[in-house]
Amino acid sequence: MTVSAIEYTRLGPPKLRLYAMRCSSCGKLSPWWEKNHCYECGGGDLTHEELAGGGEITNYTVVYYPPRDFLGQEPYVVGHIQMDEDVLLPAPVVDVAPDDVEVGTRVTSTLRRMKLGHEGDIYYGHKFVVE
């Protein structure tokens, strides 16, 4: 079995650390996937900055019919997390019943499996648990 270079290039390595992108022009943080474009000023010089992991749910939905990579985990919560460093990240909120989640709930990040890649490579990423 060989590793798909196309998939590896598209998804990148596992996200073992939680980070966002700091704009050198305006100083604002953008989500981690914005490598070349600041959400605030459109600046193109962004650098990695690690996040402490704490945040608050500002919005959420409950997924009952998940995409294939998440089958077996439904129902689960996906929320917008306002991080303490002032950046908004969408992420699953796990280990909690959907009825126990509400806007304003404090959460903290934790490392979890995100998906099993096309070639069996494991993609880890950060999900959130209720504090």
Partner: protein
Amino acid sequence: MAQIVRYGAYLPRHRISVKEIQDFYGRPGRPRSRTLATPGLDEDPLTMAYEASVATIGHDGAELGALIVASQAPPFGLRKFSATLARALGVSGADHFDLGAHPAGLLDGLALADALVAAGRGPVLVVASDHLVAYEERVADMLSAGGAAAFLIGGDGGVAELGAERRASEEVFDVWRLGTEPEARYRLEVLFGTYGAVAKTALAALEEATGRPAGDYASVAASQPHPQTLRALGRLGVGKEQLAGTSFVGEIGNLGTASAGFALALALDAAEAGQHVLAFGYGGGEGIAREIEVTAATPDSGAAGMIEGQAISLSTYYRWTRGRQVEPH
């Protein structure tokens, strides 16, 4: 001797009733464990090791000299578990060591950490994390559950000191796996017999070294692959009260390599300064006994509060165990 500076533990929150599994497969007999601590589909020994490590050192591993990970069930082969965990923890500049294929790997890790600290290469984070999966009705024997424990070992400023260690071993096939087989083979009667035999030899050697018989320890933190193994310790002079706070296999199952670690976290949580704790690891015919002296008030890792968990249905458990077997899609 090196010291345990801090420690932490992690159990997945999901619990499946072993009686339900036995009823489903028509297997008679009293369940050997009430439930099994079952990792979710998005959990594996790496994520559980991360949780226990963060509970121990937080998100900052910058000062670590070394990281040792023990697991029988790393989520991937031919890759270095400890290095991936180090990257997840943000540990840089530390040496990483993998210890595998042995349920008493935590005790090996503590011995290695002891030597590294003595050589000036500490502090060392020793992590044991496991989920040795068994399928269908065999899980009623293997009691496959998951969990993790982590111990930060340093030269000073600790809450407990690592004392003498003694080992004993026999050449047996009790629990083993051939090549790339997905689950273990086992002979429970060999496991029970060998556990008792090597424990007897190792505890006698430890008593000779320390002058303290097994019955004199405040508590005993032992590998517990099956409730029957703890009865073997009872025949060696370990009292029920010494195991009362550290025995969990009858409640949440066999945590594999993490078993002795989780028991040690429970023992340290309940210990007072001046007391001695006996740590005993067993796996593959080898028994490792180590004395640990509590030197200061210990922080509460919250391990006891993790045992209860939350029930999941048999159908969810079945989907999850089958899900762990699926080929990449």
